[in-house]
């Protein structure tokens, strides 16, 4: 496939951690249907460790693959480690995404952070609000069709 790497296709066709969690420690939902992508992340956190993570995604192959990869990257991590996961890491782990699909990886990062914020809020854990800037859809300045790793 010229468009997507084999890793992207694998995570799209057979994604990890699909589904939802009953009584989650935190839930994050980002994106909107009008733009064609919505991601929802469920976290189960015990002793500051992400014991389980699930996702539901409405979106293209790279959105689903990014969700899947992001859940793999945070599974078993501490909350702080999970907060440090960036979209660039998601893209790198996927072996690259086409430029016009990079926003999917951003969405995945945002969904994780959003779920952690929800966990903090639910549990009255104090945090620096600067950690969670309002998520704006990032304008993608790259030229169409360019693949970034």
């Amino acid at each position: 496939m010229a468009l997507y790497t084999d890793i992207v296709m694998k995570h799209f066709m057979t994604p990890s951690n699909v589904g939802s969690i009953e009584n989650p420690s935190g839930v994050g939902e980002v994106g909107n249907a009008k733009c064609g992508d919505i991601m929802k992340i469920y976290l189960k956190i015990e002793d500051n460790i992400i014991k389980d993570v699930k996702f539901e995604t409405f979106g293209c192959a790279s959105a689903i693959a990014s969700s899947s990869m992001a859940t793999e990257l945070v599974m078993g991590k501490t909350v702080e480690e999970a907060l440090a996961v960036t979209n660039a890491q998601v893209v790198a782990a996927l072996g690259g995404l086409p430029a016009h699909k990079l926003h999917c990886s951003v969405l995945a990062e945002e969904a994780i952070r959003s779920a952690i914020k929800d966990y903090y809020d639910q549990n009255g854990i104090a945090y620096d609000p600067a950690l969670f800037p309002a998520f704006d859809e990032e304008e993608d300045e790259n030229e169409e069709g360019v693949r970034m790793v």
Binding site: F12, A33, K34, C35, E56, F58, C60
Partner: protein, 395 residues
């Protein structure tokens, strides 16, 4: 199983089209501008091809100009009419909101030059009426350009009626017949068409070659300047093999046009009926007045690209919106034009059939598609919200 159901994007070349090309690659490979026999063999082949194409659409051979594709033909027709209009101070152009980008982007360019572009709104079934055109024509209208059939939702436009209106009002009429040629009956004289574009790869011919019909007396403006080829109206050594192949492919399609239409329509209707069994989906466009091969549906709660790629994994080649727009993030301008909201337009699927598709293939699509839709819905937070009543179903 492997099912190619993306014939509106492009078609597999027919054996006829391939066989027509081959002799012009290594045997009669001369430049048609060359006077020696190898060149004149090529010139002769082009003359015959021109005659054949003209015959298929009721034109005269001298009215056919070969181009590098459907887009180039669209560009040339529109620029020609604009320049003619400009000289007379006429700078109003009428078109529709759901034309192909080859038309819309050319119009956009003219708009920047000061032309006034009026895009007729499209009904929810994807139709345009001749009355709309008649009402829009003004004394300063220099062109009406309305497609013969829409590439995404398959609507067939009332070209003969629009042609009559344009003739009566003395306005040039161009139609983008890229999806129609070889599939629908075309008679440029009877339909009062002044200019018409077509592309070989939509009727089992090769990619990269098209034709522009322009009624005798219309002074075409060059899109490509160069040598004296095509009466000086299109510079560049002619794609002889491609042109001969275009003609052969078009003739073969036109020779079987009714029989193909009947066969493909039956497949299409079976496919539509089967797909509409899936809950919360809807057909885009007119169920009756549509291209024989076109099926276009929206599924609520899922996104088209995922659907497409999962179908591909099952060997089914389909499309979501026009192939040309698939690199874009916006949903199809055609679906928006017929009033589909963004969320639903993202979940569109186009299956476009040809006479080579079979009932077994349709059955296979119908066997695979519902499961894929159900799976994608099962992992979709949007679908969950719809099912739980948190959001309202649109379809």
């Amino acid at each position: 199983m492997y099912v190619y159901a993306d014939n509106a994007a492009t078609t597999r070349m027919s054996d006829t089209a391939v066989a027509a090309m081959i002799p012009y690659m290594q045997e009669f490979f001369g430049n048609p501008s060359s006077l020696h026999s190898v060149g004149q063999k090529a010139a002769e082949a082009m003359m015959n091809a021109r005659q054949t194409v003209a015959g298929c659409i009721g034109a005269e051979a001298r009215e056919i100009t070969f181009t590098g594709g459907g887009s180039e033909a669209d560009n040339q027709a529109i620029i020609t009419a604009a320049r003619i209009g400009q000289r007379k101070g006429k700078k109003h152009i009428i078109s529709t909101a759901y034309e192909h980008h080859a038309v819309l982007h050319t119009l956009k360019k003219l708009e920047k030059e000061g032309f006034e572009i009026e895009l007729l709104p499209v009904g929810t079934l994807g139709n345009i009426t001749a009355q709309q055109v008649a009402d829009a024509i003004r004394p300063d209208t220099c062109l009406v350009t309305v497609m013969f059939a829409n590439n995404e939702i398959g609507s067939i436009l009332p070209i003969k009626e629009i042609g009559a209106v344009c003739k009566e009002k003395g306005v040039l009429f161009h139609t983008d017949a890229v999806q129609a040629a070889g599939h629908l009956h075309i008679d440029v004289k009877d339909m009062n068409i002044d200019m018409l574009s077509l592309a070989a790869h939509k009727f089992h011919g090769p990619k990269g070659v098209g034709a522009l019909y322009a009624r005798k007396g219309i002074p075409l403006v060059n899109v490509i300047e160069g040598g004296a080829q095509e009466r000086g109206k299109r510079g560049g050594t002619e794609n002889v093999a491609g042109i001969v192949s275009l003609a052969a492919a078009l003739k073969e399609c036109c020779d079987h046009i009714d029989e193909n239409a009947a066969k493909v329509t039956a497949l299409r209707d079976k496919l539509i009926e089967g797909i509409l069994q899936i809950p919360h989906c809807a057909l885009n466009g007119d169920p009756v007045n549509r291209l024989a091969g076109n099926v276009n549906v929206c599924f609520e709660g899922i996104e088209g690209e995922s659907l497409l790629l999962m179908l591909d994994a099952k060997g089914i080649c389909a499309s979501s919106g026009s192939a040309c727009t698939s690199g874009s993030l916006d949903p199809s301008h055609v679906l928006l034009a017929i009033g589909r909201p963004h969320e639903v337009a993202h979940g569109s699927l186009r299956l476009s059939l040809c006479e080579w598709n079979t009932e077994e293939e349709v059955d296979y699509i119908l066997a695979e598609l519902p499961g894929i839709v159900a799976y994608l819905r099962s992992i979709s937070p949007v679908w969950k919200d719809l099912e739980s009543g948190k959001k309202q179903f649109i379809l």
